[in-house]
Amino acid sequence: MNVMYLYAVVAVLLFVIGLHGVIAYSHLLRKIVALNIMGSGTFLLLVSIAYGRPEGGPDPVPHAMVLTGIVVAVSATAFGLALVRRLYSETGKPYLPNGDTEKSGR
């Protein structure tokens, strides 16, 4: 049981770190990476809840959900990166058009 709680806390903290990254940084690539970190935190939470007893098997339903989630996350990342490329080709800047780039512009 301790393993479950340890990884669940790590997962939740990963989610918060990712959320902070999405809000605080204005470079689009950083936002996409932070979104992926949020996704990893969510998946870790799901799988740590599915741990079950130490000697038995895990609960397979959250495992299937996380597999689906990983594939959907990579599709969304690929689409998001295509959007970033197109935005960069059109405007020349990897920032959102109305975003203030001097806030934490890294």
């Binding site: 340890l6 990884y7 790590v10 992926n36 990893s40 990983i70 594939v71």
Partner: protein, 97 residues
């Protein structure tokens, strides 16, 4: 008495959080993406620890490999066109769409 496996789990968790923080806090974008790939591989170890080998396989290949290569490619595209970005801004949209 702390077991060895609990210590290993604690270290893994610490490593995950530290990597996630450095991914977002480093100034160089290339370094961020490389650290993100490392983060994905350490995550695969966490999946194995949580009795989820299928997810470890899928994460190491898709979540880390493919996402990493997509990010590196886009990063290269942005860096290569940095000097031309300003001229494109002035030209505006053109060409057959």
């Amino acid at each position: 008495m702390i077991e060895a496996l609990t210590l290993f789990d604690g270290l893994l968790g610490f490593l995950l959080l530290g990597l996630a923080w450095s991914v977002l806090a480093s100034k160089d974008l290339f370094r961020s993406v490389v650290l993100f790939i490392v983060f994905g591989l350490i995550m695969a170890m966490a999946w194995v620890r949580l009795k989820a080998p299928d997810i470890a396989l899928a994460e190491a290949a898709i979540g880390t490999g493919l996402t990493g290569v997509l990010l590196l490619d886009t990063l290269g595209f942005i860096s290569r066109n940095r000097s031309e970005g300003k001229s494109k801004e002035k030209q505006g949209r053109k060409g057959t769409e």
